[in-house]
């Protein structure tokens, strides 16, 4: 079955691609054409990389399937779990306030292994902030040697929402980030030339930005292919908040750069924003998801009598929370797309500090935050590690390995320490891959055979940040057939994806194991697992739409694990 031999065409990345000379040197500095040129330059390498099959080349699950049913993310590797947060703002965001050192110290104190610093992209950030945040990040790495501190960007995706973009530390990392932001940030592209922008698109979220988003992702992928960075990743942030990430855009990003655009926030940050005023909170919407459709919103997301895509459900974004919804529609295509959970920390609930007074537009820096001496109950965020964890399975705690774990979907999005671990194994009991695969993986079984799912969950071994030990009440096993690429790229439902089985934990805690067997499987399918504290559940087992002004994040806890794909052959 492993017939990808005979193509041992060892292109060495560094020999082929033009490493030197940034896109800025080109005579034609129109970002789209530059990226297209570089992308085409990289194509020959992409073929060589895929032919290598194994090894460090990040062969995508799709290409593996084509090579002949080689499982991805095999179960039984000695991966360890590393908790992190890929969405953190600092004083280098116009609406942020904390120094990098403070964010990293908080993350470390609350058990995070990795963080990504993601200040908002824009003209002032590109011009002034990058040079200031870079040494701050380097200092934070030295001060916190056990925390991986990635330098990233919260990219204004042209035509859409925000996204985390980041890379491991490297000789070219900052140069790539700088060029990327100058060439492809939606705020830079939409701002008039007279105000320092490029004036190339109508609005940051208008549809004329969409080709730039694809070019941007191809640019990042070309940086990987040319060896300027070992890996680069993009996660779409708060995807449903304003309804501007249309289904075809999500699909387009993934297809444009499958090694780079790998997922989205399953749960947005700002999880304290829904705490009731009566309980001392800000009384806003959980996740600050309080918007309604705007001019650039996708019309298919219109709120109606049964649902409101602009709200969170059990703290998670509607795209992820709805069984048979948008996330499932991507997975049902067999399209790898992973979900995460982040803090999006700007201003922390009940903190006494406020933004520094420095002029952001001219300095790219708010300056040191100011202590008002008054607890700010109107703030809606948690510090990194207080509430939202993206837990990643990786071989080692290294910058590249953790990113490879994220890229391969060995990821659980957890709120409020609902679980401490999840060992998922999916394997063929009959002819097929009997070893099986884990989260984000792809396994296979001969048609008509049986597939066993083993879920070993580790419940919280101690209190979360609220001081309580969360109680996992149930696990849901969700599955649906893989029906292949959709003809209509704006499809946003997977009607055949259903809740297959709910496992109640009762009084069980610690390591708890459940097994389920799909018998006589006739078509390829995928499955995924989620869990809940059972406090707010609809009649069909799902999360409830969060109530504006009354959403206690500590009493409505969920986790979502990423899927496993099963090819029936």
């Amino acid at each position: 079955m492993h017939n990808h031999d005979g193509h041992e065409d060892h292109h060495h990345h560094h020999e082929v691609a033009p490493v030197e000379g940034s896109w800025q040197d080109s005579a034609d500095d129109h970002p789209v054409s530059v990226a297209r040129r570089r992308f085409l330059t990289g194509l020959g390498i992409a073929v060589g990389g895929a032919a290598l099959g194994t090894g460090a080349a990040a062969a995508s699950p799709e290409s593996d399937a084509a090579l002949g049913h080689r499982p991805t993310n095999p179960w039984g590797r000695r991966d360890r779990w590393f908790a992190g947060d890929h969405h953190i703002h600092t004083q280098y965001s116009n609406d942020g306030q904390y120094p990098v050192a403070k964010q990293v110290a908080e993350a470390r104190k609350h058990g995070l292994d990795w963080v990504v610093i993601t200040d908002h992209g824009g003209v002032a950030h590109q011009k002034f902030s990058i040079d200031q945040v870079t040494p701050d990040i380097e200092r934070a790495r030295k001060t916190n040697r056990d925390v991986l501190v990635y330098q990233g960007l919260e990219w204004n995706i042209p035509g859409a929402e925000h996204a985390t973009v980041f890379m491991p530390p490297g000789r070219h990392t900052v140069d790539i980030l700088r060029a990327f932001e100058a060439g492809y940030d939606g705020n830079v592209l939409s701002r008039p030339v007279a105000q320092g922008g490029k004036g190339l698109i109508s609005r940051s979220t208008s549809a004329d930005g969409e080709p730039y988003a694809l070019a941007a992702l191809r640019y990042l992928e070309s940086q990987v292919l040319s060896g300027r960075t070992e890996i680069a990743l993009m996660f779409a942030n708060h995807p449903a908040r304003r309804g501007v990430d249309s289904p075809h855009e999500l699909r387009g990003w993934r297809d444009a750069a499958p090694r780079v655009a790998v997922g989205m926030e399953g749960a947005p940050g700002h999880q304290a924003a829904g705490i009731a005023k009566a309980a001392g909170g800000s009384g806003r919407a959980r996740g600050i998801y309080d918007a309604s459709p705007g001019v650039d919103s996708f019309p298919g997301y219109a709120p109606n009598a049964t649902e409101n895509p602009y709200r969170t459900y059990g703290g998670f974004d509607w795209m992820t929370a709805k069984v048979g919804g948008l996330w499932d529609s991507l997975l049902a295509e067999g399209r790898p797309w992973w979900v995460t959970s982040t803090s999006d920390v700007h201003q922390v609930f009940n903190d006494t500090f406020t933004n520094g007074p420095q002029d952001y537009e001219t300095t790219g820096n708010r300056g040191a935050p100011v202590d008002t001496g008054v607890k700010r109950s109107d703030y809606g965020d948690f510090f990194p590690g207080h509430y939202s964890n993206t837990v990643v399975g990786a071989r080692s705690k290294s910058y590249v390995d953790v990113m490879r774990g994220l890229q391969s979907g060995k990821v659980i999005a957890v709120h409020g320490r609902l679980v401490d671990g999840l060992d998922l194994r999916v394997r063929a009991l009959s002819e097929g891959d009997n070893q099986g695969v884990t989260l984000g993986g792809r396994t296979f079984v001969r048609r008509g055979g049986d597939v066993e799912v083993t879920i070993e969950v580790t419940t919280a071994g101690g209190p979360n940040f609220s001081g309580a030990v969360p109680k996992l009440a149930k696990l849901d096993l969700i599955a649906g057939p893989i029906t292949g690429p959709v003809a209509d790229r704006d499809v946003l439902s997977a009607p055949r994806t259903t809740l297959v089985k709910t496992f109640e934990l009762g009084r069980k805690s610690g390591r708890v194991r459940f097994t389920y067997v799909f018998r006589g499987v006739g078509e390829s399918f995928y499955l995924r697992v989620r869990g809940s504290d059972g406090n707010r559940v609809t009649s069909d087992g799902g999360p409830v739409m969060d109530v504006i002004g009354d959403a206690n994040p500590w009493t409505d806890l969920w986790f979502y694990a990423n899927p496993v794909f099963v090819d029936v052959v």
């Binding site: 824009g122 549809a207 309604s292 709120p303 009598a305 649902e307 002004g549």
Partner: protein
Amino acid sequence: MAWISLPGRHSDHEVLSAADDSGLVADLVLTWVDRSGPIAVPVISMRIVGTAPEALDLPAEGRCVRFPGQDWLVGVLTAGDIVAGSAIDEVVGVGVPVTPDSPVDTRGFLRPSYQDGRLVLLVEPTVDGLRPVEIEDPHQCCGGQH
């Protein structure tokens, strides 16, 4: 009555000022999105009172920023009162039933949707009852600069 349409991006305040400054009396003012081109264009449509009936650029759906009875809809009102006292035809809850005696906190800002000639106000549960899904002051990310 006639409809007139104006493309362009405006705040609700600007939309209503433009309607009033035109010297015409518009009893129904809608904003809607023209998605026929590569870039979505916001459009204002106004129904002008006292002119000959004409169907000009009548949108199938939109967002209503002015409608008969609007000035009266302030404070907390029942869904029944909202329908009885204004041009709003129906109050619909997201995932929750709405009865005529359900209280709705109007927050002094109602933007019912216009769907094939009907005005529908979508409401959702909050800590103390129901409120419109669209509010006047949703969170502006990055201080509204993006």
